[in-house]
Amino acid sequence: MLPELEPLASKSLKTKKQTDEDSFIRGALGNRKFLSGLIILLAFTLLGILGPFIAPYSPYNTSFQSWLPPSSAHLLGTDYIGHDVYSWFVIGTGTSLFVGATVSLITTFLGTAVGLISGYYSGAIDNILMRTVDVLLIIPTFPLLVILAVYLPPTNTTTILILGMLSWPFMSRVIRSQVLTLKERPFVNAAKLSGYSGSKVLFKEIFPHLLPLIIINAVYVVVGAIVAQAGLAFFGLGDLSSVNWGTSLYWAQSSDAIVYNAWWWIVPPGLSIALIGIAANLFGTGLNEYVGQRSGEVR
């Protein structure tokens, strides 16, 4: 229970033109969870981009001795056939993130489009789309993923497509329910009365409210996709020649890295996935908190 505040508008009138987005981003950065999540995510992105440039060796170079523990020559040691694990790891970061980001792009696009359309234009379209989503949501993802991956050619593209096609229904559900509440808000009716067309109402009045939600979901999908890809690779599915965190774990497991106590091979990719997961959660929770707090301030 908070007392209602009368903001003193006449005194705080800004003469300088200032967009709402500016203050939004600045405000969100003030949230510690959001900021720390963002920093970790950006750090990994940077690592992914710079990977090929900072890797000391080629990830395919097998000229080193097997099972070397970490040293200054090999920051993360070597694996069973003498790859430099550090090089494999930093280059794999790029691949893993690329797969995650591409999947997220597909998912976000499909999920947002379906969610917007079915939420805003109720009726037959909404019915068809949502029944489809309902059904897709019930099918358990992992077994479907496995069976698709078994029968389709094992490439990263396949992995990306499968993951992208499987993860949009949930997002469209989330977006749709938000659109449904937004479109009942009086400002939407006001915009219609002011002569805005359906698409203008959708994109100019409703869409900006969805942005935080879309961003949060997109980040979650990136993490989900990285984990799913690693899981598939761990099952021996997908492109095993690709250099990424998942294949790294697969080879470690299948070559009995544990027997050789090669923790340097197992720990970094798993820890990175966990760290990205934490970062995404911090990012999402922080942004949610900020948006909630901001709309609370608006009231």
């Binding site: 019930i138 358990p140 479907l144 544990i258 197992i266 996935i273 966990a274």
Partner: protein, 329 residues
């Protein structure tokens, strides 16, 4: 309160989904180029006489190329409980393979889900009630991290630790000691329990934080409810407010979450089985995938999908039954 219409929609969803699963299951293998009998069996047995191949083809139902004919046969066979013959475990049928592996998975899943939902709800109740404190923020962040760690990685780490540092404390592979014959003896049961500790612990560790966080979130939303303020004003002890007011209202969404997360936990169990060489369905799936045992992959997919569809259906009905407010469309 369950209306007839609600029941009808939920049932139709379940049926449509099941049909889709069947179609995927039927169509995918048929879209793969090449005759699996040659590719698989020849690699396994190197040479087979032609009449043997004919026999195998008819056993696998591959002799008539018409898709529609095959689909009819597939459905008929399915209703006879016949999912085909496994390539890898030949001459075992897929149903047999599933039947021998399923109990182990059910044991792992059942035990770990029970434990993790119990811990999840209790811990979630606690951190939900104390939300906003520094301790709670830390625990929540930790849990978020735990939920995003891949199951198999945690399993591998445990294996590493118990293989190298805590040697001989707990077995790290298999479902029971190889020196024992399965029977209802104390030694055997003890061995089963000891072998399942690490897999179950792994599953619980990764899945309970999710339940806790859901519980926490619903509890936090409860905190803003006026009926909690009233309960406080009425002088109800805090312990009872948490129990009868906040948690009682928060636990319903968590119950559905547990059922919905079932598919996810199943996947987790599979990974864990693979890592710990635990002879459950996941292990069978791994074998099937790595040896390209298509009938087995298909059979397992179908079984899990149907199970999850039924679990979903039950949870929907349960929810409508449990919440007095529900007047679902």
């Amino acid at each position: 309160m369950i209306t007839r219409k609600y029941l009808a929609t939920r049932t139709s969803y379940a049926i449509v989904t099941a049909i889709i699963a069947l179609i995927i299951n039927f169509l995918l293998p048929r879209l793969v180029p090449g005759n699996p009998v040659y590719t698989i069996l020849l690699t396994k047995y190197h040479y087979l006489p032609p009449n043997q191949i004919k026999l195998l083809e008819s056993q696998f139902g591959l002799q008539n190329p018409s898709l529609w004919y095959q689909f009819q046969r597939y459905i008929i066979e399915l209703f006879h409980g016949n999912l085909g013959i496994s390539y890898y475990y030949y001459p075992s049928t897929v149903v047999n393979v599933i039947a021998t592996h399923l109990p182990w998975t059910l044991y792992l899943l059942g035990t770990s889900t029970a434990i993790s939902s119990l811990i999840g709800v209790i811990v979630g109740k606690y951190i939900g009630w104390h939300s906003g404190t520094r301790k709670e923020t830390f625990v929540s962040a930790l849990f978020m991290g735990l939920t995003s760690i891949p199951f198999f990685w945690i399993a591998v780490i445990f294996q590493l630790v118990f293989a190298l540092y805590l040697t001989n404390l707990l077995p790290i592979s298999g479902a029971f000691s190889v020196t024992l014959v399965p029977s209802f003896t104390a030694a055997f049961i003890l061995s089963v329990i000891k072998h399942s500790i690490l897999p179950i612990f792994t599953l619980v560790l990764v899945s309970f934080p999710g339940f806790s966080l859901t519980m926490r979130n619903t509890m936090v939303n409860q905190n803003r409810e006026d009926y909690l303020t009233l309960a406080k004003a009425k002088g109800i002890p805090e312990r009872l407010i948490v129990k009868n007011y906040a948690a009682r209202n928060a636990v319903l969404p968590v119950a559905t979450h547990i059922v919905l997360a079932f598919g996810y936990v199943v996947a987790g169990a599979f990974f864990v089985e693979v890592v710990f060489s635990y002879p459950g369905i996941g292990d069978a799936l791994y074998v099937a995938v790595t040896s390209l045992d298509y009938p087995l992959v298909d059979g397992i997919f179908l079984m899990i999908t149907l199970t999850v569809i039924i679990a979903n259906f039950i949870s929907d009905i349960l929810y409508a039954y449990l919440d007095p407010r529900v007047e679902l469309r």
